[in-house]
Amino acid sequence: MRRWLPTFATWLLVGAGLFPLYWVVAASLGPESSLFEGRSVIPSVIVFDHYRALFDERDFLIPIRNSLIVASATTLLAVTAGSLCAYALARLRFRGKTTILAAVLAISMFPQVAIVSPLFLALRAAGLINTYPGLILPYLTFAMPLSIWLLVGFFRQLPDDIEEAGLIDGASRIRTFWEIVVPLSWPGVTATAILTFLYSWNEFLFALSFTLEPERYTVPVAIALFRGQYQVAWGQILAAAIVATIPVALLVLIAQRRIVGGLTAGAVKG
């Protein structure tokens, strides 16, 4: 077998995967008239009309702001409470922790549609529909189990004697946790935070069900409900698709190694 053939095939496969993205970038930078008429993947002129319209006419900054707030708050809550819980599950001795871990894993697999209606009724009763907490709380259904599961994996990798050293020093458990365990597993904590943020940024079903006005739409909801009044504004949709992808693309490019480590360590969530 020639050595270059598998290498070539690998590049081809990755290239094929990137082609739709390239096409959309090119199309979003072309004029509206060339989106479908005489389709070409090489733009003849580059115009920023669609991006301008996206921010001037659509106020796309609003969904971006909403998504940033909701995803960041979810990540902060899930990683903080999740890391305490994961520490107990990974490094403290008590009965029932295997069962708890299995239950957490099972809950992370819950189909969203199975809980969306009670959450809606509960949020409505609490007056939280169309608010940030009204999204952040439901997001904990997947963010919390995800964080716990990933962090348990990372905390278990630490050597056994680190806490003993801390305890002999007379440090309390909580200080050992903050001053020794968390700093030592910092790569794992950031990987967990990045993955939690990604899942929250991309979430659709809850955001669709619990926001009613464009003022509170997240990015996926805003894009999905983009239909123009008379025709589909494809140019703006594509520009929005690119804008929505930029933050996650940056995260992947910067932290690729950690993301892969986190995904394969926990092997969870898709």
């Binding site: 077998m1 598998p6 290498t7 095939a9 690998t10 590049w11 496969l13 990755v14 995967g17 739709p20 993205l21 959309v24 008429e37 409470a81 305490l84 819980c85 107990a88 599950l89 403290l92 001795r93 008590f94 708890i100 299995a102 957490v104 894993l105 099972a106 809950i107 697999m109 819950f110 189909p111 969203q112 549609v113 199975a114 009670p118 959450l119 009724l121 904990l140 259904t141 919390m144 458990r173 990604l198 991309n202 659709f204 079903l205 996926p220 894009i223 999905a224 494809w234 594509l238 698709a241 992808t245 996650v248 693309a249 995260l251 992947v252 892969v260 995904l263 394969t264 926990g266 092997a267």
Partner: protein, 286 residues
């Protein structure tokens, strides 16, 4: 001495529960309790459009209705079709990509990051990208045909999730001891035989994990179809999650919609148990 040990131990137990409590309470409140609520709703007739009827207990009659409803059966068939096609395509392509990335390559890191991009983007965006590519100038012919409409749906999902499968399999590949290949090569085994007799058998736990995990995810498919076709034309591409969502939020039939949602839940739960068992076996990837 044993006495003192048990004091230290009970302190540790109390500490552990204190640490775990906030997260576990949150999970119980936002996930476990709502599922029980959905189950309870599914046993009642609850129609938000007809509030004066109240919420009478009707036993399993919502489930009975679901089982005699042609639309529910075709929704289940659509879901199974989607699961089977996407998971097998993702497995085949993901395996190819994993094998490719497992080789000594220049620029492996950037290549891996590039391969991961489609996975990282919102499903909604992936669906719109494929919808755009299949949209034809003279009206969307792909999307008016009940069978052809599946093509962009399946392609979008395979495109987005294949890199994830590749990563899981890549981790499995990297666990295989390289000396086995060297020994096989010494015995005169070519690449095909090495793949069939070393790689595939040793990769089986990783493959099993990937298949169960992806099936679980594919079975509750919602986003990609909601955006791509809205379940149409008609209900020709409607999966069970979307039917449940429609029954709940458009028809406001909370009892019947909850029964449909619970059906998604029961199947997912069964698959999740299989997944957890796979993870628990010692020779698994993780």
């Amino acid at each position: 001495m044993p006495q003192r040990m048990s004091i230290a131990e009970s302190r540790e137990v109390r500490m552990a529960w204190l640490f775990a409590a906030p997260a576990l309470l949150a999970i119980a409140l936002v996930a476990a309790f709502p599922v029980l609520w959905t189950f309870w709703e599914s046993l009642h007739r609850h129609d938000l459009r007809l509030p004066w009827l109240g919420r009478p207990f009707v036993g399993l009659s919502n489930y009975r209705e679901a089982f005699t409803d042609a639309r529910a059966w075709s929704a289940i068939a659509h879901t199974l079709f989607f699961t089977a096609t996407t998971v097998s395509a993702e497995l085949a392509l993901g395996l190819a990509l994993a094998l490719g990335l497992n080789r000594p390559l220049r620029a492996r890191g950037p290549l891996r990051a590039a391969a991961l991009l489609p996975w990282a983007m919102p499903t909604v965006v992936a669906a719109l990208i494929w919808r755009f590519m299949f949209e034809s100038p003279g009206g969307s012919s792909w999307f008016v045909d009940p069978l052809a409409a599946w093509v962009p749906i399946v392609l979008a999902d395979v495109w987005k999730m294949m890199p994830f499968v590749a990563l899981l399999l890549l981790a499995g590949l990297q666990n295989i001891d390289h000396s086995m290949y060297e020994a096989a090569a010494l015995d005169g085994a070519g690449p095909v035989r090495q793949f069939a007799f070393i790689t595939l058998p040793l990769l089986r736990p990783a493959i099993a994990a990937a298949v169960v995990f992806r099936s679980l995810d594919a079975f509750r498919v919602f986003d990609v179809i909601y955006v791509m076709t809205g379940g149409g034309p008609g209900t020709a591409t409607e999966p069970i999650s979307l039917y449940a969502f429609t029954a709940l939020f458009r028809d406001l039939r909370f009892g019947f919609g909850s029964a449909l949602a619970m059906m998604v839940f029961f199947v997912s739960f069964f698959l999740a148990l299989a997944w957890i068992r796979l993870l628990a076996t010692p020779e698994s990837v993780t």
